[in-house]
Symmetry: C2
Subunit: 350 residues, 2 copies
Amino acid sequence: MVTIRDVARLAGVSVGTVSNVLNKSNKVKPETAKRVMEAVKELNYVPNTIAKSLKTNKSNVVGVLVEDICAFSSSTIIDGICAECDSREYVVNLANLRINTMVNHFSPKTYQTLVENGHFKNAVNSSINALLSARICALIYIGAHPRDISGILPKLNIPVIYAYCYGKNGDCCVNYDDFQGAKLAVEYLIKQGHTKIALISGPLDSVPAQKRLKSYKETLKEYNIPIYEEYIRYGDWGYDYAYRECINLINLPNPPSAIFSMSDVMAYGVIKALNDNGKKVPQDVSVHGFDNIESSWYMNPPLTTVKLPLWEVGNTAAKKVFEILENQGQNQKDILIPCTHIIRNSVNKI
Amino acid sequence: MVTIRDVARLAGVSVGTVSNVLNKSNKVKPETAKRVMEAVKELNYVPNTIAKSLKTNKSNVVGVLVEDICAFSSSTIIDGICAECDSREYVVNLANLRINTMVNHFSPKTYQTLVENGHFKNAVNSSINALLSARICALIYIGAHPRDISGILPKLNIPVIYAYCYGKNGDCCVNYDDFQGAKLAVEYLIKQGHTKIALISGPLDSVPAQKRLKSYKETLKEYNIPIYEEYIRYGDWGYDYAYRECINLINLPNPPSAIFSMSDVMAYGVIKALNDNGKKVPQDVSVHGFDNIESSWYMNPPLTTVKLPLWEVGNTAAKKVFEILENQGQNQKDILIPCTHIIRNSVNKI
DNA sequence: TTGTAGGCGTTATCAC
DNA sequence: GTGATAACGCCTACAA
């Protein structure tokens, strides 16, 4: 590899001068600078960031620790991070915990067990050490699902940002706005004339499910629509439970005219259950999703849903990193980014 | 940050000794080694890979340049790479070209234009430089779609592996097997009793489309089934064209009993077209997909399709990197990993 | 305006 | 077995 020394030799100057022009110090005569830059081009010199970091004791690499890169949300979040880092000539160091595989591997259904038995913490520590060893200047942790992960990460002396998950009080967390997103859905259903609006919720120990449920209830209340407990059903974010719960809903003496499903996948199960029971969507029953996963456009009918600002979550997290690094930290610890509404054809006016 | 020097001081030995125990040299007295390790623990010492790389002139970071991390294939491939790197204590440096955004941004529909006008090459060079600057020890390039990208990358003096894309002759490329995958589908259709098998192909300038088309024709020939040119239709991998072409197929005087779509998304369009024209899948017409994107399980009916070995492509690419780095390069340049068959409910026996 | 030299945290080569 | 010390490539005083 060609070094600053080779450049200096070719340009007929000293290494100090080369360093100065490379770092845009303006105490170099333009003529000398030009000669140096020519040598750089000619030799195809690429600065050794390694050596630079060692000297300056700060690196230009941000560590990204992702719980599972295969989660539907992860790649878009990472994309948002990369975009910001690119534009600042920072580099991304990626570590993947593969938590979904771990969950399968160790068989407990929930993260909780994994956390309690220590396997998860071990994996995290080992990844963190690798990242630390590479001297990352900041860490962004990306959850596979928005939940409280406080207590998972060891104390670090670099800035840490939680993206798509929650830390303890005082930690800097960037998330989408569950409450506002759910309100988008419920309000829309109401404005389309629905008052009998059922809910297929995620499990109650899930943070997003709690927030969206709260939003569902408060929004109905806001519009003076009574809340029927039998309209509120619980799934596990998956297809099968949603299918089953939807059938329970249909069989109610006073069945709903619209079903708000807290995930698109559950909405698929709902639509299937409806179709299997001779009901057409949206003519007979309206269905509203949440997540806007890619396939929802292809569903029959195309699913009306709520889009998560995933790219923005990642991008904002990265921006936050640089804010802190540059000491402009305005201490806005908890950032909530609004969702947007994707209107397609699964909801009818009543 | 605590250094090797601090450890040495606490353990009452020299830095050289600490370095030796850290690098598992066995010329250190076990007793001394123990003392050192205790100091490491106590001080929470994390080795500075940066400094180590500078000295040894080799890094433990593999660069991953991905055309678009949001492509459906990318995250699983990256996961496969990460898994291998993790187990060897290597670290992944990720750069994302965001090519799909670029294509939108600069409006040409195909990569070709982007390549020709130089925008793409600029982006690549700038990313490569950032990676090089971080002194990656090898590069894995991940395509957004399997195509020939030779001429895109500058000449590098580190090992380069092409994953999910093709380089020039002599380059090391890791891909799934298009021919074998398509054969899986066509052969299955035949064995279910179909002989009138139509094809919705991808565009002919696409490498996978060419290979799968070849496979389609050769497999039919192998089973002595005549090839009807009017059964071969061309889409653009997307929903709409597939929908339209399927209608053309239905209106043929002798319509097919099965349709092999070269992508799952196109299969969705096919199913919709069939349904809209009063045909049931699979009772009236069988539909076979290709890709096994996540949503295909949720389709109605769940789609029978071909699964791409994406994780294995990434994992093999990473393994190849280490083979080369360790000079065991067996010079197997072109690696093709077989697809697997996912049988669900969109194909009927005849 | 430019050159020189010390040191960032390691490893490796010698002595001892 | 262990300890001193010279690099690795770069930046930054400080000297010239």
